[in-house]
């Protein structure tokens, strides 16, 4: 298995694990961490694409995109954490609970 194949399959796996965690977990902090795992998968793919051709210097354009992506992921995480703290302050809960019953607004 070539190096690029290994890294790209790993990044797809990371992305899917993160996506599943983002949707399935109920705790807000776990959702935020899952979003970061998704971002890590994307960055891994970009960096491994940059290094595909072993003969040359690594491609600088995907490197710059990853730098941009990291900053955007940090901004999103910061705002998400501030929102989570505010939600906890206002409601006292940190999870998104399932509704017990459908109610009559069906």
């Amino acid at each position: 298995m070539s190096q690029f194949l290994l890294y790209s399959l790993a990044s797809v796996a990371l992305f899917c694990i993160g996506l599943h965690g983002l949707i399935a977990h109920r705790h807000l902090l776990r959702k935020i961490v899952a979003m970061n795992v998704m971002a890590s998968g994307v960055f891994l793919l970009l960096v491994s694409i940059a290094r595909r051709n072993q003969d040359m210097v690594a491609d600088p354009v995907p490197h710059a995109m990853v730098l941009t992506g990291i900053v955007v992921a940090v901004s999103t995480t910061a705002f998400a954490l501030a929102l989570a703290r505010r939600i906890c302050l206002e409601t006292g809960r940190v999870s998104i609970e399932e509704e017990e019953e459908q109610g009559d607004t069906q």
Binding site: L5, S8, L9, S11, V12, A13, F15, C16, L19, H20, I23, A24, L45, I49, A50, R52, N53, M56, V57, A58, D59, P60, V61, H63, A64, M65, L67, T68, I70, V71, V72, V74, S75, T76, A78, F79, L81, A82, L83, R85, R86, L89
Partner: protein
């Protein structure tokens, strides 16, 4: 019911992505030769810095804008630009205080070094900004007021400095007959360095302020809002 759909849907997305990744064309050269051929035009010595601040400067500008948006959203949750109203940690134990006294000046120095090295080696504005932000966070955790000493107009001006300088450069060159965001030929290196200084200070301040501003003010028993006293 929708919980059962999560795993199959994720698996389907994974299959699609795997097919897409396996379908990538065989080892092309990518954009490396194009970038390396234009390096003299960029004004810096390192290809990634050249791409980040010259060839794809528009993306970098928008990225600073995203940071600013996150800061705006966090300050919106606090409903004020004055971070000094927020509760802070009590003064730290002596070991943390001493270590902070030791470490923060060193962090500022390392940030300046990384900023300078960005022109010829891995480094540059965002790396320096990240370390400055970490210094601000460390000060806050050690019980100092850190970024909260800035308030009002000074805070807004420093936050806007990165985005604003980019905008001034991008639009200002149009007054000299060039296109939007086209750096002039010879001063490109100096322009890039000035932009890097502005970005690193603004990014460091924004990251530290995101941490400080993320903690909501404490509520009084009757629901009124108050800070720490």
């Amino acid at each position: 019911m929708s919980r059962l759909l999560t795993a199959p849907m994720t698996f389907a997305i994974g299959v699609i992505l795997t097919v897409a990744v396996l379908d990538l064309p065989e080892i092309p050269a990518g954009l490396t030769p194009t970038v390396l051929a234009s390096m003299e035009m960029s004004g810096v010595g390192h290809p990634v810095t050249g791409v980040l601040l010259n060839f794809r400067g528009y993306d970098t500008w928008l990225e600073v804008g995203v940071l600013l948006l996150a800061m705006q959203a966090v300050l919106l949750l606090q409903r004020s630009y004055d971070l000094s109203l927020l509760p802070s940690d009590p003064p730290a134990n002596p070991v943390l205080s001493w270590f902070t006294h030791l470490l923060v000046p060193a962090m500022v120095l390392v940030a300046g070094y990384l900023l300078w090295m960005g022109t010829k080696a891995p480094g540059g504005a965002f790396q320096a900004g990240a370390i400055l932000g970490a210094a601000g966070v460390l000060l806050r955790l050690a019980g100092y007021r850190s970024v909260a000493v800035l308030r009002g107009v000074l805070m807004r001006a420093l936050l806007l400095m990165g985005f604003g300088l980019f905008l001034v450069v991008a639009v200002g060159v149009m007054a000299f007959g060039m296109q939007f965001f086209q750096y002039p030929g010879r001063p490109a290196g100096e322009i890039i360095f000035a932009l890097e200084i502005a970005i690193s200070v603004a990014t460091g301040l924004t990251l530290a302020a995101l941490f400080v501003g993320g903690r909501p003010a404490r509520r009084h028993a009757d629901g009124e809002r108050r800070g720490s006293h």
